[in-house]
């Protein structure tokens, strides 16, 4: 029996953290993530968790303490947003390189400057090559579900990689919705007892973690890390199917929404997927074969599966809530287009950069994307490979 509750995204993720009951949480507050840390610290103060909560003076220290705790053998978590993630940067890579199964909710927010606290994906997209698994969430329910599944993925012996669970700042983190949570015992049973690998606190088996690693072996250790990311894909699916048995909620690498018979489709992540579904439904009612692919797992990138899901579509628009500033397009676009390269007679593909700095995106905006796609599908011609959607020209 699940429990129906009304929660914001931040409350939902703090609740998941309470149920996970990590050994150590080291965190620093930053808008819009602050509530997660604040709510979790009240769980600590009220004795609802056994967690050692480390209040630190910065995010660099938050991630450092989390890495230290994870190395010692603790199930460890932290949480952040935007510039906090940027401040962690050095240690974010170290967590992955040391193969520590840390779980970190990241509430997506624009990276300064100019100073902005609202949602876009520039923070976690910047970390897409850091070696962390990245799970995106459409709403509070998905943020909760991803957070509960994350330790199982991270701690799998074939993976042993840290996981970021993202949700859109304010749009999800501060919006209340009706959702379902599991009973505490079910979550604890699902995630299981943590058995750390080579913990520093196992004094009978002393080990050195993170030593200097130069030309002779560093390449091999990075090769292992690359393999772990490949291994993560089937593990994510296994964990999802186990979770579906528990909750009835099915997760894959991505969600296909009316994509089977679609002529035109968009690829999108995060809360905009909900907005896009409204647009798809309206277009379907008019007989337009519109579909959507909502990415859940951005790292590892499910290239073959995406190519397979989109190969029959005539025109695809990839919606990026961040810019790569590479003078080409957004990060999701670049990866999706690359995934489609080997598809014979594959779809035409265009990019829309939208929602930067929290700029609102409505079903009407998404409908204009589908209108552009319909034209491309009809003529076979791409006029604008990249559009800044909702910009003031």
């Amino acid at each position: 029996m699940s429990i129906r509750v009304g929660k914001t995204g931040n409350e939902a993720v703090a609740e998941a953290m309470r149920q996970i009951n990590p050994d150590v949480v080291a965190a620093y507050p930053i808008t819009p993530q602050t509530e997660i840390v604040q709510i979790f610290s009240s769980f600590v103060a009220n004795g609802k968790v056994d967690t050692e909560f480390v209040t630190v003076e910065s995010e660099h220290s938050a991630m450092s303490a989390t890495v230290g705790a994870a190395s010692a053998g603790a199930r460890s978590m932290t949480a952040t947003s935007a510039n906090g993630l940027a401040f962690m940067w050095e240690i974010v890579y170290i967590a992955a390189g040391m193969r520590l199964p840390i779980v970190m909710p990241v509430v997506n927010r624009a990276l300064s400057g100019p100073l902005n606290i609202h949602c876009d994906h520039s923070d976690t997209m910047g970390a897409r090559d850091s070696g962390w698994i990245q799970l995106f969430s459409e709403n509070a329910q998905e943020a909760y579900d991803n957070a509960v599944q994350a330790p199982r993925i991270a701690e799998n012996p074939d993976v042993k990689l840290p996981v970021m669970v993202t949700m859109d700042g304010f749009i999800i983190s501060h919006a209340m919705e009706v959702m379902e949570i599991l009973e505490d015992e079910k979550v604890r049973e699902f995630i299981g007892k943590y058995v750390p690998e080579n913990p520093l606190l196992d004094v009978d088996n002393p080990v050195t973690l993170g030593p200097v690693d130069l030309q002779d072996w560093n390449f091999e250790h990075k090769r292992q890390q690359a393999e772990a990311m490949r291994n993560a894909k089937p593990v994510i699916l296994d964990v999802a199917s186990e979770y579906a048995k528990l909750t009835g909620r099915k997760y894959g690498l991505f969600e296909e929404y009316k994509l089977d018979d679609a002529d035109i489709a968009i690829v999108v992540l995060g809360s905009t997927a909900g907005t896009a579904k409204v647009a798809v439904n309206a277009l379907r009612a008019k007989g337009v074969r519109a579909g959507m692919l909502k990415m859940r797992v951005f790292r590892p990138f499910p290239a073959e599966e995406i190519a397979d899901a989109l190969k029959h579509v005539k025109a695809v628009a990839v919606m990026d809530r961040s810019d790569s500033f590479n003078a080409v397009g957004g990060p999701v676009f670049v990866d999706v287009r690359s995934a489609l390269y080997d598809v014979d007679n594959g779809p035409k593909i265009v990019n829309y950069i939208y929602g930067i700095g929290g700029r609102d995106v409505t079903p009407d905006h998404v409908k204009t994307v589908y209108a552009d796609l319909a034209k491309i599908a009809e003529t076979g011609q791409v006029e604008n490979p990249l559009t800044y959607l909702g910009i003031r020209e």
């Binding site: 040391m98 030593p211 390449f219 091999e220 250790h221 292992q224």
Partner: protein, 101 residues
């Protein structure tokens, strides 16, 4: 665990972890050396400053007296020769080019 010469990326511990304690002793830092310290016994007052300062435990001591230099580990940093007070200003350690030894 010593890594066999023909080991590949699948054979070695994750992330460069060292699972065998004390294994640094197997790593002979003597190969780094350009200069080597040589001992001049008549100038030595057995103060053992060299032993205290040596970062590689390459100064060998027996019965509280300077005994020798372990060239398998001496990396030739020259700290011992710098710190050596010697006798009446005449140092008991000097650095010479390794290839001239």
């Amino acid at each position: 665990m010593s890594v066999p010469k023909d080991a590949g990326w699948k054979d070695v511990p994750k992330a460069g972890r060292i699972l065998e304690p004390g294994s640094a002793a197997k790593y002979e830092t003597g190969g780094w050396r350009t200069y080597r310290p040589v001992h001049i016994p008549e100038n030595c007052i057995n103060c053992l400053f060299c032993w205290i300062y040596c970062p590689d435990q390459a100064i060998l001591v027996e019965d509280g007296k300077f005994k020798g230099i372990d060239y398998a580990y001496c990396k030739g940093c020259g700290i011992c020769a710098t710190e050596c007070p010697g006798k009446r200003g005449n140092k008991a350690l000097k650095m010479i080019l390794d290839e001239e030894a």
